[in-house]
């Protein structure tokens, strides 16, 4: 009879697995970003953006107060059309927007630094639907939202809790944000994003964080990051800019993102869409700096191609990758953190199309030096669906980002001359001192990929990646334990929420 091994080995194994998945709270790049345009090309794009702002201008819709703020800062106003003298927005941004900032988490070990040379991964954002392999596609609920908050907490490769993990369609429109923000606080301890669907809801988000972090603390420190999208082409509306104003006034970070389906909302070309993105983003970023000079702001870009045969957005195609590389370089020249990319796909299930389109977005995201990556995990169907299995598979691949951005180790250990000397011709390296000292951390290893022999794989049920991912998320939710939250604060938050909820009637309009 074989003797049972003592607990020593099992413990060692557990520790090794734990070490293996231990990820940094955010990535630090040593790898130089890839650029696809030289200075001359980038200057032309910047010049074109200036011309767009000076000659065509932007529409500021339903927000006279913003128009007055722009007027005060030197813009030319013609009704709701706002035109900017060349260089005005650039100067406003360059003069006061920080190059990097820290977004603080309630667990200080989870705080992230956003800006060069760092990269932060966050889950996908904004889907009305969720899907999993057994339950299929359905409208998302607050319980789905909580589940993704739990999964994000348990996923080391996701540094950030994200924002609208899915839309809790089962809750009244005007009160969803309370439960969403509370779920981020309660079920995760990573930094997260606030509500932007109305300035009042942005204010509620700020107030909830004041309870959690303290109002004084928030005057000096950024704890929220919130997403404001331009309505391309060349238009900004009240809800988005109004929410941006609330956050900037409170010294909280805003992510300014033109959302572009090239061909419909911007020119079909890379240089055209990049210039328009820059112009729209400059307006939003300049607005935050007018509201509060020095308020943290991120330059965002979401640019997809489209099927010219149907009008449907397409993902993982080469042109958006070129846009991403180009706009990342523009953000570096401007001196602000950059957001783009993720694991984007038009596929409805986490199949081969989903995998290759996602990778064709994710690799450029990492190689371009993106600082904040929304949509890292879960994205399906052009963002309409948050997929449970897709979340697991994406997050697994995101884990590889850390090794990639570390670049090539050129230290003595990296050069490995000892290993070659010791091993010599015709032998193998598996037992060399160098290998023994380095094998555990030498290669990133997927937690989802199956690399076994055919026979092993067959014996274990011939499972494909979707089946394995399905088991993973279910196991994770079963094993989930919430991060500790100060009971008094939790109580205060819940009480505040119930009072606020009771202070106005539910509404879906």
């Amino acid at each position: 009879m074989r003797r049972r091994r003592s607990g020593g080995r099992a413990a060692r194994q557990a520790e090794r697995v734990a070490n293996h998945i231990e990820q940094q709270p955010f990535l630090t790049r040593r790898l130089k970003p890839v650029e696809v345009l030289g200075n001359e090309g980038l200057e032309i794009i910047e010049h074109n953006a200036d011309i767009m702002l000076e000659e065509i201008g932007v529409e500021i819709v339903d927000y006279p107060e913003a128009i007055e703020l722009f007027r005060g800062a030197g813009a030319d106003i013609d009704g709701t059309r706002v035109r900017f003298p060349a260089g005005m927005c650039r100067e406003l941004v360059a003069n006061s927007a920080p190059r990097t900032f820290t977004q603080n988490a309630r667990n200080p070990d989870r705080s992230v630094v956003i800006g060069d040379p760092h990269t932060v991964f966050a889950p996908a954002y904004g889907s009305p639907f969720v899907s999993d392999v057994e339950g299929g596609r359905r409208y998302a609920t607050i319980e789905d939202f909580r589940n993704f908050a739990r999964l994000a907490y348990m996923t080391p490769s996701l540094h950030h809790g994200g924002g609208t993990l899915c839309e809790p369609v089962d809750l009244p429109v005007n009160k969803r944000h309370f439960d969403m923000v509370y779920s981020h606080i309660k079920y995760n301890d990573k930094p997260f994003m606030g509500s932007v669907t109305h300035p009042d809801r942005a204010m509620d988000t700020v107030d909830m964080c004041r309870i959690l972090f303290g109002a004084d603390y928030m005057e000096e420190n950024t704890v929220l990051l919130s997403l404001a999208n331009a309505n391309s082409p060349l238009s900004w509306d009240f809800n988005m800019l109004g929410s941006a104003k609330v956050y900037a006034e409170a010294n909280q970070a805003v992510l300014i993102t033109p959302f572009i389906l090239a061909g419909a909302m911007a020119p079909v070309t890379v240089a055209g869409a990049a210039a328009q993105t820059l112009a729209e983003a400059l307006v939003g970023m300049a607005f935050t700096q007018i509201v509060r000079p020095g308020a943290p702001v991120i330059f965002g870009s979401f640019a997809s191609s489209m099927s010219m045969q149907s009008g449907a957005p397409t993902f993982g195609t080469p042109e958006p990758a070129l846009m991403l590389y180009t706009i990342a370089a523009l953000a570096r020249r401007l001196g602000v953190p950059f957001r783009s990319g993720g694991n984007l796909t038009a596929s409805k299930t986490p199949d081969a199309q989903a995998a290759y389109e996602s990778m064709a977005t994710f690799v450029p995201t990492v190689m371009a030096g993106v600082n904040f990556v929304l949509h890292t995990a879960g994205w399906l169907e052009g963002g309409l669906t948050m997929g449970y299995e897709k979340f697991i598979l994406d997050a697994d691949q995101a884990g590889a980002g850390q090794a990639l951005v570390a670049g090539v180790d050129m230290s003595e250990t990296g050069q490995a001359m000892d290993a070659v000397r010791e091993t010599g011709p015709g032998n193998h390296f598996l037992g060399s001192a160098h290998t023994l000292a380095n094998f555990e951390t030498a290669f990133w290893k997927s937690g989802q990929a199956d690399n076994n022999s055919f026979e092993q794989w067959e014996e274990e049920g011939s499972q494909d990646s979707i089946t394995r991912a399905s088991q993973t998320w279910k196991r994770m939710l079963k094993e989930y334990e919430p991060p500790p939250l100060d009971e008094a604060k939790d109580e205060e938050l819940c009480e505040w929420i119930s009072l606020r909820k009771a202070s106005f009637p539910d509404s879906n309009v």
């Binding site: 429109v173 509306d237 389906l261 419909a264 045969q309 149907s310 009008g311």
Partner: protein, 219 residues
Amino acid sequence: MNEKQSELLDELYAAVVEGIGKSTVSLTVSGLEMNIAAEDLLGNALIPALGEVGDLFESGEYFVPEMLMSARAMQAAMDILRPLLAETGAKPIGKFVMGTVQGDIHDIGKNICNIMLEGAGFEVIDLGVNVSAATFIEAIQEHRPDALGMSAFLTTTMLRFAPNMKELREAGVLDGLVVYVGGAPVTQEFAEHCGADAYAPHANALVRDLKERLGVASR
């Protein structure tokens, strides 16, 4: 129909398929000058041309911008023919009032639907974005359309469909009107739940369904 007249109809057909607005307009004018009836210009050139454009689009040969050019050419011709057709009592293919609901400013999907509808020969009255129920009602009363389309891109704004339906019903404008709802977060079930008549998952489906409902012979 003499030889010159049928030659002109061929040229007009080609101009619409090619999406050349200027030629479409000048050929329409010449056709009328040559005493071709408005109904014949419509029935023997314009509509068959749109049929071919639709075929080319469905087979993937035509792209959205080409469909748009043909639709624009068609609408330019229709601007000339519409008053004449009205005089003879001939009914145009159909009228569609379209808009994105209040609180929502997204319009790409709606615009693509408009292109497809116009490309199929429908007259589209586009109310734009952020359209209130009252504006929809006014437009229905003014234009007497065959169908109404309400679009929403957000889960927060698709909830306008149901109250809008209620207001339309109360205003008494639903008789003989087909109401479509659509947009990224909308499903068939949700459309039914809102009390809309129909849901179109994409622009082509909208055109196909509408033609069927109105009994418009396509091609």
